[in-house]
Amino acid sequence: MTAPALRVAGDSHVGKVRRTNEDSLLVEPRLGLYAVLDGMGGAKAGEVASRMARDTIRDFVAARRGALPPRQLLEQAIAAGGTAVHRAAKASREHHGMGTTAVACLVTEGKRAVIGHVGDSRAYLLRGGRLQALTRDHTIVEELVARGLLAPEEVARHPHKNVLSRNLGARSETRVDLLELEIQVGDRLLLCSDGLYGYAATEAIQYLLGSGDAPDHVCRDLIELALRGGGGDNVSTVVIEAPGQAPTSTQVVRTNGAAAWWQKRQRFLAIAKERGLTRNPIVRGLDPKEALELVALSLCEAVFHDLERSTGVNVWTFTQHLAGGWFERGGDWASIRGVIDILGASARGVVDEVRAAEPQLGILLDVAVSRALVVAELALGGLLSDRLRQVDTDMIELASQRDTLQSIPEFSEVPEVTESRDTSERFVDRPTIPFLRPDRPVTGAGISAEVLDGVHKALTIARARTNPRAELIKQVLVALDAIASEGSESFGTAVLSARELYGVRAIDDAGVMPLFDALDQARILTTASVHQIQVPEGTRARVLRAISTAHQRLVGAMTGLVLEAVAPFSDRLREAQAATGKLRDQLARAERRCADLERRFATVADDDGHLWGAQGDTEP
């Protein structure tokens, strides 16, 4: 029996409350065997129990594979694990009463999976974007629900909701629940302990599991999510993914393309420097190295994250912050154009090098990076359009006031003045770096107390400037505060905040647009507020960076939720398009048939419909 080519990863964390990690993981691609076990018992007994059961299961499968059908193999292996724990518990007073849960998955060569479980560790399947639980907890309350003695909605608040009705170790023989399923391309299986689902919303788990990230990233993010939710227990996850037979161009870009891009980041910076990025007015006053990091590396990272996730949200946000902040400070268009052109040329330089080394990958990366530049232009276009509308409004207002003044005699004779108030050429003296890269979005990093303090101050100012009735904007600002305070690479808080803000909105203009308007308003408010706090320029830049990153994450998470929500409509649209195509073909055939009949009919009928002609049996 050989396991199919799957991508698998597992991770475990002690949590924020417990002192020891009693969970155990089993990730054995050679055997096609994966499991999560959650031990219980005093002192270190739980740890002993989960490890003992894990080792027994693994050894049993290794020894008997081929001799037993997969279903019996896994069932007997888990039962053997229970027997071993039971014996050890009886033999030692120290380990008396110890036990463990187990959820295990055995994948066979036919891409069939057998899931076996005892206790409340769970298996989930993500298929077609939908998450479904494959296991039912062996707890007292679930047994009561199954027997119709307790309503499902009462489970969450039942005092004995965590009391297991079955575990490995309580008895010499254990009954194992089994389930078999066919693994399909694109499926993702999740095995986890109650430390995950007890502290993270199912929707957030679904979101992260469906993110398309590599399994090791998903495991790490899921654990981070549980820790953000309180981390009251040990948390363990195993993610098993069945990738497509042949990767699509999108997948190639997300993996190899993103990696190739990121490996060339120093080259990107070098080209940007050669092309004079550090001399651009936007970075005036900054140390060249810092300027390169703050602008060029920020875009480089934004492109990297967009390539990884097949989105444009990071580049969009970068451009909006860069250009929006510059315009708000009275900056000119030429400087923005100069920066974007330099960054675009740097990107092309990197892509050319990748193409020279790997033509196939290079061309896909070229397309993806060109699209990123289009996204940047779209963001600029939105800003320009807004400003154009504002100038038009100002002109109308000015014209209206002029008409009013001219109707007043004392103003109608005011002589013309020659003083120019043209501020269009007024550039700022201080550097403006509206978008600043996350501290270390790729490698992870903390956030200093000074910056954190600045973030809180800026957001407090922003909240004070918010209309008291603008509840949504205030909620966004609170969310930004929470996300910015995290200061790490996790999207957990952003996902949860987005979910909270999203609530029960419907996917239409009325439902979603106010939310995105609020996000935009919050961005403008926070950018302006950062310029009001009393901190050194360097700190101000880092505060802006932290808030911008938080905003970027929140928008990204929100976009993910919206995309998730519209997925069923997209499917229906595709189905409708296919149906339209068929109907069009039928219509074309019918029209041809109609034309044919008309031609034939014309030979046997006159204009009044009287039959004649071909048959020649009637004269008009």
């Binding site: 061309i363 699209r371 276009g381 100002d394 002109m395 108030r421």
Partner: protein, 156 residues
């Protein structure tokens, strides 16, 4: 932009009816401004853009490209479309054309090259359009300053 090798220009011309058909079918989901148009107007507008893209691919003449965009922008402005909306529509057209070229790429390698070219053309179109809008913005700001300079009572 350099001129495109004749085979690619020919492939583009051959694919143009399919691109137009796809755009007409999908216009309601591609961009709100395209969705608002009736069938005949949409066909004329999208057809004009596709034809121009073909000319741009064949000649690489940026001056003509800019002139076309200026006219297109002015015409759409007369229909009360914002520059952002015009930009979104042009990008949607470029993306869909590139998608059709990508599908062609499954049959012959030139399709992939054409997809890349169309994506780059979309990028340069967006860039040129933004420059035009920025010029217009600057011009209107000057007008505003001229007006306000002649009204000292309003300068506060």
């Amino acid at each position: 932009m350099a001129t495109v090798p004749p085979p690619l220009a020919r492939i583009y011309d051959a694919l143009r009816p399919r691109m137009l058909q796809r755009l007409l079918e999908l216009r309601s989901s591609l961009d709100p401004s395209l969705a608002r148009l009736d069938e005949a107007t949409a066909r004329a507008q999208i057809g004009a853009v596709l034809e121009h893209l073909g000319n741009f691919l064949a000649t690489g003449d940026l001056r003509l490209h800019r002139a076309f965009l200026q006219t297109f922008l002015a015409m759409r402005a007369a229909e009360s479309q914002s520059p952002a909306s015009v930009l979104a529509a042009l990008v949607a057209i470029g993306d869909t054309a590139a998608q059709v070229a990508q599908e062609e790429g499954a049959r012959r390698p030139e399709g992939v090259e054409l997809m890349l070219l169309l994506t780059r053309v979309t990028a340069s179109t967006a860039r040129a359009l933004n420059d035009l809008v920025a010029e217009e913005l600057e011009s209107r700001r000057r007008s505003w300053h001229d007006m306000s300079a002649h009204m000292p009572g309003l300068r506060s």
